[in-house]
Amino acid sequence: MVQLTVNGQTHDIEAEPDTPLLWVLREQIGLTGTKFGCGIAMCGACTVHIDGVATRSCVMPLSAIGAEQKIVTIEGLSPDGSHPVQKAWLALDVPQCGYCQTGMIMAVASLLVTNPTPSDDDINAEITNICRCGTYNRVRAAIHMAADGKAG
């Protein structure tokens, strides 16, 4: 048994050490807001924060994470959807099918911590999550809105 700290709570986890964090979150802890898209860290649907850093959880084995590390999932980003990125996403009605959007939001929330006013080039370089519905332009606009603090 190992311990994980997720969204401020400590969880005792029974899983094989090579189990990806994604599946620990989804199947052991029941946090399904973090999505399975590709399993090889190519699409970003599984993005969570580990000590504040956006991380693709589908290739992060349980054994590589210490109990002291702080994991934050979409469910823990804010208690009520009030994180500035979530508010910008709501203001611009960004999602279509929505499946990639929680990972997209987590990637953006992490970016804005290290780079509070990203340029378009910064966004192009840092936000590489896949969206098949095609929300990219609204994602970009919402990033700028969140950075400007204009989402209320």
Binding site: E27, G33, K35, C38, R132
Partner: protein, 730 residues
């Protein structure tokens, strides 16, 4: 949105808070098994009619038969109903009526099929009538309570007012009585120019839960006692399952059972999906690779190339005598140009891999599934369950992308029921890996096209022959739609006069024909379907002809489009939007494309640059005339998204065959458009009224031709074989 549950399932799905966190369960249970109807009915708000439920607190529940997969139909259809209902939009929620209930009620909700950009255009009339009928019944109930003529009463924003006295009643106060009113025999619908809710850029009804992780997709579903399944089907098309060594993995953690699913598939059922997948990866499996084990992309290309020259072909559009005119001009030494294009296999690659959850017992089967067609899912479930359809039910869940993969094809439903049937009484969720999804697609078919055109001395197009060679979708998946051996869908956008989509150009001698060549790769309806490559073939070749004629491409098209003013209107709007009549900035180059499909007229103008072999798409202006616009904000999103889908195919999309199987198994080799490549998109809406066209698909088709024509302007070269990733651009 609630996932409507049957009463028998109600206690079943209430699990621990953690495992069902955020799952909006069917607290309102509108559809009751007859045995329990009376017992449970007392607690339920009555429906006014099939489309509308109003609760005592004034909450309006609109029932939506079509599926929401991102395209916004859920919100648009609700707008149409509530417009006629005169309801308060802020009180609106939605739910999916289960398809089994539709059958029991003589298909009161009509078709559940959500494809072909038909969600709104096929059902706008009857859903509006549903809303209007409910309004009549609410007003009648209020008038009855007041003892006044209904004609003296009117509804607005969920309040009924008696004009002479000024008395009011809220919808919620009369909803129960309204449900007992006789429905009106006839209802008049509003003129769209009077719309207050429909036609407006309202926010989507399904956004909030998608921002917090609360939205439950099929892949996320968790039922108490549920087990999880991972599956492998023979990766070679047409191959079969010979054997597997279950004993080798049965002691691995969490494994419950190894099951043969069908003639080509084996699954591992475990407590968690990750353990099921891990055990499946370790399972020794013997396949019979079957007759296609040597099939390759080269062989398929050769098969199609032969069709380009074949004598026999199905004719989709013919005027005059194109072959004779082309021969005459060639013999006379006139201008005849020829070009050959090719479009490869594509995978839908929905972000949410295929999945379904099934619970089977000897007398009932239930399936929870993200589906574009709940009735098709129900039929597949009943067949796989070996039960009458009346003993089966499907609960629909929002889709993590559909794009045509989750409509006609219900393979994952059949598999999930087959697995559940071997685990009676236990719900089992089947979830595909991305690799399974890429290897077992319903692929956008591959075609090639040879185009030959003749120009007279004045640069007028006097003859055009478009020969398409390649795969028919209908022949494989809907043979009842074939017409005397011909697949009419092959000619999307190219026919003479069909309202679904006809050719804009009037050419005195025209022949568009199809040599059907069907490789043993399963084809499917991929968002935009055959319009995608047909628009590339026609619009890029028209650009080639304009260049050969020495005429500017918009002017060249305009001469041929005099009989098709709606096609021309969107083309000119896109051209004006990009500034076609003014020169682009140094280093920038422009291209145009237009087509009609799914009942709508669409066009795009692209502005690109090429530097050091790298294409950058800076800006696209798109114009669309869908007749009516129900939600302009959603139309904008569909148009923008169409460029992501169309340009992903243009730049990267290609599934290649070797050894009888697809080679691309994940997004590392099946690349798609990402943020960095996304151009700015401006959307111009030109709804001209009088018809209802679709929005979700047509614009995809003009993405590639506009960019390819701009790429020619930039490089002086034609890139006729997609995707562009296979070419050095210079």
């Amino acid at each position: 949105m609630s996932i409507v549950q049957s009463v028998s399932r109600r206690n079943f799905i209430v699990g621990s808070g953690a495992t069902v966190a955020g799952l909006s369960l069917g607290f309102h249970v509108p559809f009751l098994a007859s045995a329990s109807a009376q017992e449970a009915g007392a607690n339920l708000p009555p429906e006014i009619n099939a489309w509308v439920v109003v609760k005592p607190d004034d909450t309006i529940v609109i029932r939506i038969a079509r599926s929401e997969m991102g395209q916004g139909t859920l919100t648009g259809l609700a707008q149409l109903v509530v417009e006629e209902l005169e309801g308060d939009w802020s009180k609106v929620t939605t739910e999916y009526p289960p398809p089994g209930e539709n059958l029991k009620r003589d298909r009161v909700w009509g078709s559940y099929s959500t494809g072909g950009s038909r969600g709104i255009r096929d059902s706008h009339d009857y859903v509006r009538k549903g809303g209007a009928a409910a309004r009549h019944m609410l007003i009648a109930a209020a008038a009855e309570q007041w003892g006044v003529p209904a004609g003296e009463c009117a509804a607005a924003s969920s309040v009924i007012t008696h004009g002479p006295s000024g008395r009011t009643l809220r919808f919620g106060e009369v909803a129960e009585a309204a449900g007992r009113q006789a429905p009106p025999a006839e209802v008049a619908l509003k003129d769209p120019k009077d719309w207050k809710i429909a036609g407006k850029p309202l926010a989507r009804l399904d956004t909030v839960e998608k921002l917090t992780g609360k939205q439950v997709y099929g892949a996320d579903l968790k039922l108490p006692g549920m087990l999880n399944a991972a599956i492998k089907a023979c990766p070679v098309f047409g191959g079969t399952l010979v054997s597997f060594d279950a004993a080798a993995i049965e002691t691995m953690p969490g494994v419950k059972k190894v099951v043969k699913v069908d003639d080509r598939s084996v699954a591992v059922v475990a407590d968690t999906w990750w353990r099921a997948k891990t055990a499946l990866d370790a399972l020794p499996i013997t396949w019979d690779e079957g007759p296609n084990k040597d099939l390759s992309s080269d062989a398929i290309r050769a098969m199609l190339a032969e069709g380009l020259e074949a004598q026999e072909a199905f004719i989709g559009n013919s005027q005059g005598d194109a072959k004779a005119e082309l021969a005459r001009v060639a013999a006379a030494g006139g201008t005849v140009i020829t070009a050959t294009y090719a479009f490869p296999y594509q995978n839908h690659a929905t972000m949410e891999p295929m999945n379904a959850t099934a619970l089977w017992t000897a007398d009932r089967c239930e399936v929870w599934v993200p589906t574009q067609n709940g009735e098709a899912s129900l039929a597949a479930a009943a067949e796989a369950a070996g039960l009458p359809v009346g003993q089966c039910e499907v609960y629909k869940i929002h889709l993590g992308g559909g794009f045509g993969r989750r409509g006609n094809f219900q393979d994952y439903v059949r598999q999930s029921v087959s697995i559940a049937r071997q685990m009676p009484g236990i719900p089992v969720k089947l979830l595909w890996t991305r690799e399974e999804d890429m290897l077992h697609g319903a692929y956008h078919p591959t075609t090639q096209a040879k185009l030959t055109g003749a120009l007279d001395a004045d640069g007028n197009l006097t003859a055009l022959h478009l020969r398409i060679s390649g795969q028919s979708i209908l022949a494989a998946v809907r043979p009842q739609g074939m017409q005397g051996g011909m697949d009419p869908v092959v000619f999307q956008g190219l026919t003479a006069s069909l309202p679904e989509g006809h050719l804009a150009y009037t050419v005195p001698n025209l022949l568009i024909d199809h040599a059907m060549r069907n490789p043993p790769v399963p084809p499917g309806f991929w968002r935009g379907v055959n319009l995608n490559q047909n628009a590339i073939y026609v619009e890029c070749f028209i650009d080639e002809l304009a260049h050969a004629a020495g005429t500017e491409p918009l002017a060249f098209r305009r001469k041929l489009m005099a009989n098709h003013p709606k096609h021309l209107a969107v083309l000119e709007a896109a051209a004006n939007g990009i500034g076609w009549d003014t020169p682009p900035a140094p280093g920038r180059h422009r291209g145009l494309g237009q087509i009609m499909g799914f009942g709508s007229y669409v066009a795009a103008a692209a502005e690109v640059s090429v530097e050091k072999g790298e294409l950058k798409i800076h800006r696209i202006v798109a114009a669309t005339d869908p007749g009516h616009v129900v939600n302009p904000a959603q139309v904008e999103r569909q148009v923008e998204g169409s460029f992501v889908y169309g340009l992903s195919a243009c730049l990267y999309g290609e599934c290649t065959v070797a050894g009888g199987r697809m080679q691309e198994e994940n997004f590392d080799t099946y690349e798609v458009l990402r943020m960095a490549e996304m151009p700015a998109v401006e959307t111009i809406m030109l709804p001209s009224g009088g018809f209802w066209g679709g929005v979700g698909e047509p614009t995809i088709a003009v993405a590639a031709p506009a960019v390819l024509n701009a790429l020619f302007a930039a490089t002086g070269k034609r890139y006729r074989t997609l995707p562009l990733k296979n070419h050095e651009l210079a």
